[in-house]
Each structure stands twice: as C-alpha cells, then as structure tokens.
Amino acid sequence: MSDNNDHANGVPGGAVPVTQAAAGAGPGDILDTPMGDAAQAGGGGGQSIVFSTTLRTRDFFKISLINGLLNIVTLTLYRFWGKTEVRRRVWRSVRVNDEAFEYTGRGKELFFGFLLASVMLGVPFLAFVFAVQFLDEQFSLLLLPLYLFGFWLWGFGMFTAFRYMASRTTWRGIRFVLFGSAPTYGLMWMGMQIANGMTFGWIQPVFARLLAEQVWNHMRFGDRPFRWNQARSESVGLYGPFALGWFGTLGLIVLTIIGFVAVAATSGDVWSSFAHEMAQQAEASDPAKAAPVPMTVWVVLAFYGTLLLLLPFIALVWSPYDAAVLRSVTAGISLDDAQFDMKAGALSLWWLTCTNIVILVLSLGLLMPLIQARSAKYLVTRMRSTGTARLDEAHQAPPGPRTAEGLADAFGFSLI
C-alpha cells in the first residue's frame, strides 16, 4: 500500500512530488537568461516560460549537518525551523525567466500548526485507543472507522500542506494560492486506499490523475488560474508502465521465494548445524531469554537484508511508472496558453532513487536536505514549457492560512 501511496504522489523514493515541485519550485532547465529581461515572446501579450536553477547539491551538506546537530540537542524540536530553512534555500535556487522563487514560510508557523494538530487530534486519538482498554471489548470495533478516518485525515492533511506551501511561495512578490476543498481531497484519498485494496492497486493510475487534477484545477498564481488538461495528461499512458511494475514485482517475489527454497535445499547441512547450534545455546543458557535472541536477530537481518537487496530491483520495475506519472501530471498542467512537460526518464529516475536511498541509509537520515535538493534539481532541470502565459498581469492573492501543515507533520508526512 505504501508503494502505491508513493506512486500517487509521484514521490519516487522520497523525491519531491511533482505537485509540490511545480507549485513551489517550478522545475526546468539551466539556461543563462539575461538579467532583467524576462523572456518576452509569444502571442497575446504573454510570456514564454523558461525554467532554470542554481541548485548545487554540495551546498546542502552544511545545512544538513547543522540541522542534524540542532535536532539532536533539541529532541528534534528544531525540525520545523530546519525544514523551513531548507525549503527557503531550494525555492530561491529555482528561477522562472531568471526570476527566483521565494519561500516565505516561518518555522514557528510549522511549529504551532504541529502543536495545534497534536492537541486537537493526536491526544484524543491516543486517549481513545487507551480508553478502549478500560472499556468493553465491543468498543474496539470503533477502531475500524477510526482507521478509515485516519485515511481521510491523511489526504486532508496533504491538501492543507499543499495549500500552506502554495501560500508561502512567491514569484515577483506575488503569492500562489490553492483554493479547493481539503475534505474532498481527503475523501478522494480515502477512496483511493479502499479502491486500491479492492483492485490490487490497478486503480492507482486513475487516482494519480484525479488527485493531481484536484490540486491543479484549484491552483492560482496570484489571480491567474492554472488549469488541468485531462486529455493532455492522458497523452502519457500509465497502464503499460503500471503493468510492468505490477508484474515485475510479482516476478521478483516469485524469484525471491524460489531463491530461498533453492538455498534451503542445497545447504541443508548448514541449516541443520544452525539448528543444532541454536539448540545447544538453548540448553546451555536460560532458555527463557538466551535462545530466542539469535533466532530473532537472524530472521530480522535476513528480512532486511533481502529487502535491501531487492530494493534496487523493485525501484527498477516501478521507475517507468513513476516517470510516467511525473510526465503525465506535468503534461496536464497549463497556465493561460502555456503548457508544461517533464522530460523524466525511467533510468534517470531509477538512478536518483537508488542513490538517494544509499545516501539516506549511510547517513542515517542526516543528509535528508541534500536528498531533497537532489530531487528538486532532478525535476527542475527536466521541466519545459511551450506557449505563453500572461505572468505580468497576475495580481496579488489574499494571504494564506496562518498556521501550517501541522496536521500533515504530526502524522509524519513530509514533502520536503
């Protein structure tokens, strides 16, 4: 299920979702656009849109280390400010027509949003789970609707996070704004989880577009609305790559099982001597505690070892689909007469995912900002636009929500 969630967001291995990338940090190509002169071209008084970036991944080493250190001494309370600073640096490194985006969010907004969500949702939820223990057994039946509510809440939280980030993203001093209904998005998200379960994931490509449409049809730059173009989005096929990923995963599972059986069959001696050793240990020491340790550790190590070995292959079979979702969603976005395309290829995305995982694992999560910068750079450098948009005519949007995506953060959901 979590795989599917990632695909729905277009988040390959923790990469920046395309919805957010284009909302907050418009993706594109490094082009040396002359200072001062936005690329004036095209008809209808509009401008063509050229993306460029000054992102240098190595610049994010220092901030990663500082954030990591401050997170440790503050029991991770610093994370809200650290995250904000990372966003600020990513945003300002992305330019449209040589004018940089700006992230205007504040750490304390995330912090207060988190506190609010914790008090309003986290505490009652934990208290309920706790209270069930005191009450009649029948009350545990209430947990099922509560988990369904959790799905809805997740979608709701994601949408409010998008809304917050859009409102804290400016270009030429003009804010982005996301209208639309977070409860509706939550319902769609919940529906997707249920439908995915019923179709073994095969409904996923449909929802990938539905969710993107829900965001982009309600997004504005100032007062200039983005539009979702379903036909253009559908020009990028999703079911072929999805089938590849689905059957590829099935194949990998079958191969793994065959591999295990083969190893067990050919190395029977190893197994029996292992079992014998275990039994000796059980005999030699207090069986209540010494014996299960090696077995448990062994099983856990084998599980994670196999998973780690499989991960690049799983990423490989899914990368055509992930890349197709990125291309399809980007193709569906338009602003005035400007349309967008993402030149994301399966292999390049696979490589990004694998290297990101290696960096994340080796740094124990410390280099997360670096990974976010790499992912943002990947997206921006592959972004293209055709046609024109009347950017100059955008008027200021109303201020966004005061507190932040605390709800999303409270549930461990983090975009960048």
Binding site: G36, E85, E102, E137, I174, P287, G412, F413
Partner: protein, 384 residues
C-alpha cells in the same frame, strides 16, 4: 544602481534606480519613490541575484549581487534573510527539550504510582478482563483441573495475606517459555514450562507470591500509565521528525522504563516474601528457583548476562539471589504432595503443543527455544 522593483500588488517588473545612505534604501521607479528604513530590510542572496524585502511588505527589489554589495559596503544594519532562527530560539528549544525530558523521564514515572492508586478499581478490573481475554487466545489454559485448583488454593492462601484490591485468579497456561505474568485486575498466569522447571512447590509459591505482589502494589497499572504518558509526550515532541535524534529519544525512553521496572521487581520480591512468611510457608523456594535459573545462564558469556540484565527489566540475578537468601525463612511446604503432583500434571498432557509454534525449531529430546513474546502487557511482571 539599477534594479528591478516589484510593488507587491502585481507581477509587473519596474526598472528602478536605487540609492542607500546607510539608514534608508531609496527606490525610484517611473513616477514613484519608495523609502525603506535599513532596520526593516532583509536580503536574500543567491549567486548573482540579491533580493531585498521590507518587513511586512510583499514588495521586492532585485539587484545584481555585486551591485548590492557595492551599495551596502561597510553597512551592517541589513540582516541576511534566514529561517534558521538565532541563538535565542535554539536555547529556548533546548530548554523546552530538557523540560520535556524531565517530565517524561522523572515526572511521569514519579506520578505513575499515585495515578495507578487513583485509578478506580473497576477500571483496572475491566482492563484486566480485556487483556486476559486477549492472552487466553495466545496462551490457552492447561487442561488439568485438579492442578489448576491446587494452584488457585495456593494463590488464595497467599492473597489472604495481602491487601490486594482484586481477587487473585491464578491459572497455569501453555506458553513456550519459563515465565509468569501479572495482568491488571488480579489475573496471574504461570506457564507450564515454569511449573516443569520448578523442583518443589515452594519454588512455584515464590514466583506466585512475587506476581501477587505486583498485583497488590498495582505495578501493572503504573506501567500502563507510564507508557501512556511517556508515549504521548514523546509522540508530541518527536512526531514526524526523522533521523538520529528521534532514535536517541526513543531509546532513552526505553532505558528509563526498564530501570523503573527493576525497582518494581525488587519491591515485588520483598512483598512476596512477606506474604509467604505470613502464610507460614517457607521462602527458600524463591532463592532456590532464582539460583537454578542463574546456573542455567552460567555458560553464557558474561557480557550477555549484563546486557540481558539491563534489557530484561529484572534485577541482577546475583543480587536477587543474595537478597532472597538473606531474608529467607523456613516454613511449611507450600502444597501437599497430592496437590503438587496434580499441578505438575496440569500442563503435561500437551507440552508438545507448546512446541508447535511455527517459528520454532524443535530438536527431539530438547527443550524448545523460548520466546519471551515481546509486547506483552506486563513488562513489569515478567518473571524468570
């Protein structure tokens, strides 16, 4: 100096002439002049571009970085824009973190005793029923009715010496481990393996008395409150954070929980012994049982014992044996021979079943590897 000015009302770019006299930044566009005080300015520099903003304003001024530097050379009033926060923020957060840490690791453990005592008896009883129902599925009761009755008689004798707010309901269960549990509300489970491992009824009585002490002292309820409080606060603080800091916090939380568990174990030993003495029974069985359990560990490397001592919520066995030996007293046997034989047979009929767990490797003629079943409700009452 030349720059681009955006007035914050629309996205039109205005060519601007910019001056700075050290106190005020003056921006002149066609027909308009803006004066921004230096104290309200923030600048964000990325490579070749410097973007200047004024506090609480959507307007932006963009200049070439070199020109901005030239313009403000020698001036220190303009602050670099940053979300990272200053020293005051970090100090404040560290203080908040320390306060939270104290609350979680000191305050809640201290409050858990009074909280447990303040928990209404029928709440704990109901919670115990829920746990008991869940555990009955995992650890089915042994079939020997005569043995179960003997165990309950022993429990009744001991319970008579206590001020337990709950009736003690003891039962022998099938479980692949040498262990005994006290659940909330007075349920005490003793595993068939433990009964098999015991050489005398006095040893079973020692273990049972220890578990009954957990019930009387409401240790289980304390553990429930402690884990709820610590879990809630740690979730609040650590929440969606990732990385090493979070792991460190969680590990520290676990260590604190365990050290408190050891104090509860010592208390249960002492009270358990007192019940045995009050019932006129011998308390030698307690020391005997601990000693034999310790002997079985002797072949294990020393470090393993130290590590397990730390992680297993129990006091160091040597210390425990020494305490038991120092305080033990002679007394009547805990059971007559008929009852003892019945108890020994209570779980014997299907000892083989307990080896039927799918994750175990069963070697004929050997005891199955035992699993302490992590995540059981009674971390405090776990016994050897």
């Amino acid at each position: 100096m030349q720059g681009r000015f955006y007035d914050g009302t629309d996205a039109t770019s205005h060519a601007a002439e910019v001056r700075f006299d050290g106190t005020t930044l003056v921006i002149e566009t066609a027909g308009q002049t803006h004066a921004w005080p230096a104290t309200e300015l923030a600048v964000d520099i990325d490579r070749d571009q410097a973007r200047v903003s004024r506090r609480r304003s959507d307007a932006r001024l963009v200049l070439a970085t070199s020109e901005w530097r030239q313009l403000t050379a020698g001036q220190r009033q303009v602050r670099r824009h940053s979300a990272a926060g200053g020293g005051a923020l970090v100090i404040g957060l560290v203080v908040a973190a320390v306060a939270t840490g104290l609350l979680v690791f000191v305050g809640i453990p201290m409050a858990s005793g009074p909280l447990a005592r303040a928990t209404p008896i029928d709440y704990e009883a109901r919670m115990g029923e829920n746990y008991n129902a869940q555990l009955s599925g995992i650890f089915p009761a042994c079939e020997g009715e005569a043995g179960q009755a003997a165990l309950q008689r022993l429990a009744d004798q001991l319970a008579d010496q206590t001020q337990s707010p709950f009736p003690i309901q003891a039962r022998a269960v099938h479980a692949p481990m040498i262990n005994a549990f006290a659940l909330p509300g007075g349920h005490v489970l003793v595993t068939g393996d433990l009964i098999e491992a015991a050489e005398t009824p006095d040893e079973v009585a020692g273990v049972l008395a220890h578990e009954i002490a957990h019930v009387e002292r409401r240790h289980v309820m304390q553990g429930v409150w402690r884990s709820l409080g610590a879990g809630m606060l740690l979730d609040l603080v650590v929440g969606g954070g990732t990385g090493a800091g979070q792991q460190a916090v969680l590990l520290a939380g676990q260590a604190s929980e365990l050290s408190f568990g050891r104090a509860a174990e010592t208390e249960a030993d002492e009270h358990g012994r007192a019940y045995l003495h009050a019932a006129g029974m011998s308390s030698r069985g307690m020391g005997d049982f601990f000693e034999r359990m310790a002997e079985e560990e002797l072949d294990a490397p020393e470090q393993v014992d130290e590590v397990s001592e730390w992680w297993m919520t129990h006091p160091n066995t040597d210390r425990r044996i020494a305490a038991a030996r120092a305080a033990e007293r002679e007394g009547a046997p805990a059971m007559n021979d008929t009852d003892w034989q019945a108890l020994r047979r209570a779980c014997a009929s299907d000892q083989a079943e307990s080896a039927g767990q799918p994750w175990e490797i069963r070697i004929p003629g050997r005891r199955p590897p035992n699993d302490p079943m992590p995540g059981q409700p009674d971390e405090v009452g776990k016994d050897r």
